[in-house]
Amino acid sequence: MNILKFFTAGSVDDGKSTLIGRLLYDTDSILADQLEALQNSNRKNDDGTIDLAILTDGLRAEREQGITIDVAYKYFQTAKRKFIIADTPGHIQYTRNMVTGASTANLAIILVDARNGVVEQTIRHSYLVSLLGIKHVVVAVNKMDMMDYSETVFNSIKDKYKALAQNLNLIDVNYIPVSALKGDNIVQNSERMDWYKGESLLHFLEQVDTDNLDKSQLARMPVQWVIRPQTDELHDYRGYAGRVLSGTFNLNDKITVLPSGASSTVEKIEFFDQTLDAAHAGQSVIIHLKDDVDISRGDTIVNASALPQETKLIEADLCWMDGRALDTSIMYLIQHNSKTTKCKISEILHKVDINTLEKHPADEFKLNDIGRVIVKTADALAFDLYDDNRANGSAILIDSRTNLTVGALMFRASVE
């Protein structure tokens, strides 16, 4: 059985949390004591039925205000699949929390309120989905109960979104009319929308194939920790511990260590009490090399026949996530896998106007702004382009005055 990680997005009050609650409720994933807590809660729907949104709105402030502030993670499984859900906030103020939930997912459910159609937040979140390279999108047109379950309403929203999807290069987009509140097309197909011939949301999620994701063949392993027991029996033991980001390392593969450029051969691959013939993407292992090269945390071991880019000047998309605006005159820290180095944003190439998706020149970058910049790093980074290899093409910016994570970077090109 494999895991599907997905998240909900869309504007405030479009029904994201209710939809997750409905999915859990209708799959019998809510246990008796949790249900009892829901029944005892004083947040109820207008008709007195339980408010399913409070299953994920776990903070006091969220329950009081009736909105989601930070991402909640929920887990459930059916006979076919395990699911990790991130329920993210729709409010623009909390966009950074939406990006947090989205960054580890491989499928997005974008909710649209059938009464309002595609609004600015729908566009913003869809744009972020495309920047983050999330290949699978479900557009759930919600609150169909408030629009008489009308096929016409659904179709007109679908057409509107199709234009947006094309503009954003979203390839695999599926449309489902739902009512999160009443449960239509969430787990069971709705009798009230017999004009809809597609699958229910759950059924779709159970069988969607996301295996084609993150399948970069480029072998990369950032070294997180060097294991040197230095005991009598293991006097010369020196193993490089890390998680294979992408590709495969086989025994006897020729490798290069970056940034030093030293080359060697894979001598041994260990995983706790086992020795392996190969280490694949996703595995946390220990690699031994034939030669005594100088390697420490922050270095990357790569296949010698497919080297990454290596430069100190990178063009990247930036999402700004801090209340303090970007300051192009100061130094930030950039964290790329296990490496952290100083950097500056040396140039803002453009900023994107979310409503029109047009690119404009800009000289300031504030909370929730998205655009293209040039990053100048103190040490060269060994990276791949985000679209080629998500895992080795992303980084975060840290403000060393506050230690906060202030930006998300997706590498698009190295600057000559």
Partner: protein
């Protein structure tokens, strides 16, 4: 490319090992909070997988309420000597003796809340900058909101409204002096995942997780082990029952469930069919809707 089998437990395991190694790489003085429960026992196995044949780059820290199940302490001591790692004990009794906290009184008295003070003192005394814990997001709705690297201020407080973005698998462990980070490598595991992992890895557990005969009383609808740590009176009727524990904490706040499951397969079967959550057996969470959130804001695990 050779075919390989990488199922969901392998994926969760590899993620947790990655997180543990990030802690080793990013912090000066980390610690692993070890309670003697199944989640922290799982963490120890994951740490072995992350760092063997080397030593752990951190000690184990047990915040000892003094109201433990005997079996847990015995397990702890045996395990520590088997793995050959350092154990530091922070004692709630000592915090009481030093007058830093005051023992609760009354029928529902528990040392659960007092632990936070001892924990923060232990962090301060040893200057720990990161504490690894076995909390999982599926346990409780406030935990479902917490980051894997969760920054606490000088007073140990969690501020749920000001969490840092946490993107991809990149964890920002930068902090100011006095702050520390709580790190939760098994955030994405469910209770059942932990049990399936324990079965797969053949990990030994304290015997109280398996069905056994025990003297119990009923408190607030929950079955509690009769012990000198419960303030019992004439109303409490002691009956001997076959029980096991689903989660293990302090004796005064951990409830038992009636069960015949004395093998791990039976336990997994029982949990798969159970209609009650794991935390349903914790009195500490029953206090109010925001009980866990409030404790976390106060510096709890």
């Amino acid at each position: 490319m050779s075919e390989y089998n990488f199922d969901y437990l392998d994926e969760l395991e590899a993620e947790a090992i990655h997180i543990l190694r990030e802690v080793a790489g990013q912090f000066e003085k980390p610690a692993l909070l070890f309670s003697g429960g199944k989640d922290s026992i799982t963490l120890v196995r994951l740490a072995e997988k992350a760092f063997r044949p080397g030593k752990f780059p951190f000690p184990l820290v047990h915040i000892d309420t003094g109201h433990n199940f005997e079996e847990t302490i015995q397990y702890r001591d045996e395990m520590v000597s088997r793995i050959g790692e350092k154990l530091i004990i922070g004692s709630v009794q000592q915090s009481i003796d030093e007058g830093k906290v005051i023992e609760q009184t009354g029928k529902n008295a528990s040392r659960n809340a007092l632990q936070t003070v001892t924990l923060l003192d232990t962090i301060l005394e040893h200057k720990f900058d990161a504490c690894i814990g076995g909390a999982r997001r599926d346990e409780e709705k406030a935990r479902a909101k917490e980051r894997i690297f969760s920054v606490r201020d000088e007073f140990g407080q969690w501020d749920p409204k000001r969490q840092r973005p946490e993107l991809w698998n990149i964890y920002n462990g930068k902090i100011h002096k006095g702050e520390n980070v709580r790190v939760f490598p098994i955030s994405n595991w469910t209770e059942l995942d932990v049990w399936n992992y324990i079965r797969r890895e053949n990990i030994a557990l304290p015997s109280i997780y398996f069905a056994h005969q025990r003297d119990c009383i009923t408190r607030n609808g929950q079955l509690m082990a009769a012990s000198p740590f419960l303030n019992m009176d004439d109303e409490d009727v002691v009956t001997n029952k076959k029980v096991r524990f689903r989660t293990v904490g302090d004796m005064s706040c951990t409830a038992a469930v009636e069960s015949d499951a004395d093998l791990i397969d039976d336990i997994i079967q029982e949990i798969s069919e159970s209609k009650i959550s794991e935390r349903g057996a914790r009195l500490d969470d029953k206090v109010s809707e925001a009980a866990m959130e409030d404790r976390k804001k106060g510096g709890y695990f």
